[in-house]
Amino acid sequence: MPQVSLKVNGKPVTAEVEGRTLLVDLLRETLRLTGTHVGCDTSQCGACVVHIDGESVKACTILAVQVQGSDVLTIEGLAAADGTLHPMQEAFREYHALQCGFCTPGMVMSAIDLVKKNPKGLSEQEIREGLEGNLCRCTGYHNIVKAIDAAQQVMHGKVKELPRAAE
């Protein structure tokens, strides 16, 4: 069986996989990192989004062997060692950007890539378009968009503290 060596959330990992093993299965089944979800399993819903070398990718549509030597970041790797949440996670909590929470890991990972790639800032419309690859069936997206808008201000250093949601 092929062996794959990579970094997951900063830690070196080596695992035996089959050629056909998907990255999401390596993460969930072998490494027990179950924060990355499988929703549709057909590349549409985005619940499985992780970062590979800083780029958001659907982990259900890439083979584990393809990430040999790469740096993979999952939702488990976002918070600081002391438990401080990433500004995007904090914003999702503050703005009530989730209901059932199933899509949330993928939403957060996609949103971080989206914000990082747009240092000039995103309009509400651009945030909505940027989330094209992530489906949420509960929230109607409204609070997700608000959370990303607030988080981008922190991530781009425009404000020090996350703007609080209206009471």
């Binding site: 092929p2 050629g19 056909r20 399993d41 590349s43 958001s56 990718v57 890439i62 690859g133």
Partner: protein, 264 residues
Amino acid sequence: MYEFTYHRPGSVADAVKLLADPDARAMSGGMTLIPTLKQRLARPTAVVDLSGIGELKGITVSGGTVKIGGMTTHATVASSADVAKAIPALAKLAAHIGDAQVRNRGTMGGSVANHDPAADYPGAVLALGATVHTNTRAIAADDFFNGMFSTALEPGEIVTAISFPVPEKAAYVKFPNPASRYAMVGVFVAKGPAGVRVAVTGAGANGVFRHAAMEAALAKNWSAAALDGVTTPVDDLNGDIHASKEYRAHLIGVMAKRAVAAAG
């Protein structure tokens, strides 16, 4: 997925050797192949991943030509300042393929070699009169696409790059399916070294095609109004639950006018 052996060659020559096995399949970004394998619609003995081949990546602009390596991702094309300057319509097209995650993995060579009837890039390749370079030859766009999911590529032949002559004017407008975002109809119009060319994707039962009547009308008068009364025969169009042949024929006219207006 059925079992297969995975290979990641470091050169085109090594990839070609591995693809001599008739049951091996080349994989570029895998955005179509992996879902196909997952559904067990294909059963290759080996998957030859082209992502380790550096010579297949990159964008160069010189002498009125934009040359893009087959393994260049949609995200790279979309964010390339060189492409945006030379052929803005191509950068814009790339920025609206699939979603951000698909654009980070999917490649131009893969899209063109796959010739999905709803893919966007074939419209650009055909309308801009591009040349598809492979490991063995150069193929003119007009000779490349020959039916749905079918191209002039021989088994084991790899798209190494595509070169686009820089047009004077060009634009691409599509009508995405509201759910899948695939083009139900996409029209790429261009006026340039290869003349006035109009390519339609998403609508043809045989994949991408040129629209001769629109090309004739626009060659005489480059304006949206010139397309008034120019119709599209429905015989060779695709009809499905998303849109009938007649509706697609109507959309071709609307998208073409919008594209001409956008091209200026």
